[in-house]
Symmetry: C2
Subunit: 210 residues, 2 copies
DNA sequence: ACCGTTCGGTACAGACCGGTCTACATAGCT
DNA sequence: AGCTATGTAGACCGGTCTGTACCGAACGGT
């Protein structure tokens, strides 16, 4: 900040600024509709510097996706104040902010399963399913792998529907999740608050969306 | 030149050929990666003719999506040889062929909720959910709207996951659907086609229609 | 058989994109 | 101070995209 309005930012944070601008622009405009010129302008970085840090736009996209890994699903799986069952349900509460899973968006936009970014997308999906499986095991599910995969599918379904329709679909997904969890956990296993939800038809949307 | 197998097709089917080529190319390559030149070549139509039938590519994309409406989910809801419950489950059996719901793909690729094609995507999703709801009502679900919305979400989730991962996710979705259906239909509900379906609601679609 | 209309083929215009390169300015080291 | 490394600003290149213009050939009504 030793210069004018957009004065020389002088390197140090160049890479971070580029990735930060990527997150914003790719999310708001999509990958294909965001040009490198605009991206560099927002990041306040010259194209030369950009191509010094990333040899191509594809590589930038891949790194942009890789960066998400540690951040997403923040803390949900680490909240020790919740029972495992509550943690599983909490995974459906957050997502009003995220417009669409960037991994799904990237996989569709790039349209090339061989693209390195597509590989990261697969890795991420697998990681999420694994964490759900792990939590399902803690919750005492008889078949944790199955429950984890099922919940992962629900998250993706809600994400996709939220994108196409404008309505919020995560409450619906949460209702399904509650049913699945209750069916997958033997009645004896956990200590859980009062709930009769989902065992029969009505299933009154337990998790209030946003 | 009046030559080859197709030679001058002279207009009549021009519009249909364009839409047919659109379906193939947009599905295989995506919308953004399919240029009008290639599309016209496949359709054996000159660009002039193409732009005579569709004033812009956007309009072509919108029409391409609109055309899907009657065709998708072919026959599943009309199979009178199945019980309503079986029809609901049958919606999860087919789709190994379809790479990704074209509506979701278009919504992601176009990335503009105001695009006319996005509107058609919403209409389609709503239609599918409505048909599922109708069938759920026939099956005797206590809350057909909820069950229909839930099943629609499962279909989208399976479609999305199939696209990102390569694994087939529809069996997982079908397993969830079976649980939801059984939980949503009172124990007294019918299991045989000859029984009276729809004990609670309307019972249209008698056996033998179509 | 004639003539207007329509369509195929294609060259072209204008815009944009990814990526490279040159010219210049600054920071830090010696 | 001077030198070097690094970064900025932006022109520039080749390619591709959507969309248009033009010309000639084929068709259809009369």
């Amino acid at each position: 900040m030793e210069k004018g309005p957009l004065g020389r930012r002088r390197g140090r944070g160049a890479r971070e600024r580029i990735l930060s601008a990527s997150q914003q622009l790719f999310r708001d405009q999509g990958i294909n509709r965001t040009g490198m010129d605009q991206l560099c302008a927002v990041a306040q970085v010259s194209k030369r510097t950009a191509y010094q840090h990333f040899t191509s736009k594809d590589e930038l996209v891949a790194e942009y996706l890789r960066r998400f890994d540690p951040d997403v699903m923040p803390g949900v799986f680490d909240r020790t104040d919740l029972t495992p069952r509550e943690r599983l349900l909490a995974a459906f509460e957050i997502p009003a902010s995220t417009p669409l899973c960037p991994y799904l968006a990237a996989a569709v936009e790039l349209h090339d399963p061989q693209h390195p970014a597509s590989q990261y997308a697969r890795d991420y999906k697998t990681t999420i399913a694994a964490r759900l499986t792990e939590t399902a095991r803690e919750a005492g599910a008889t078949n944790p792998e199955q429950l984890g995969e099922q919940l992962a599918l629900l998250i993706d379904g809600a994400s996709a529907r939220t994108r196409v329709l404008n309505s919020e679909s995560f409450p619906t997904a949460a209702a399904i999740a509650a049913v699945l969890i209750d069916n997958a956990i033997p009645a004896s296993s956990p200590r859980q608050p009062s709930d009769d939800r989902g065992t029969t038809g009505s299933a009154p949307v337990p998790v209030g969306g946003q």
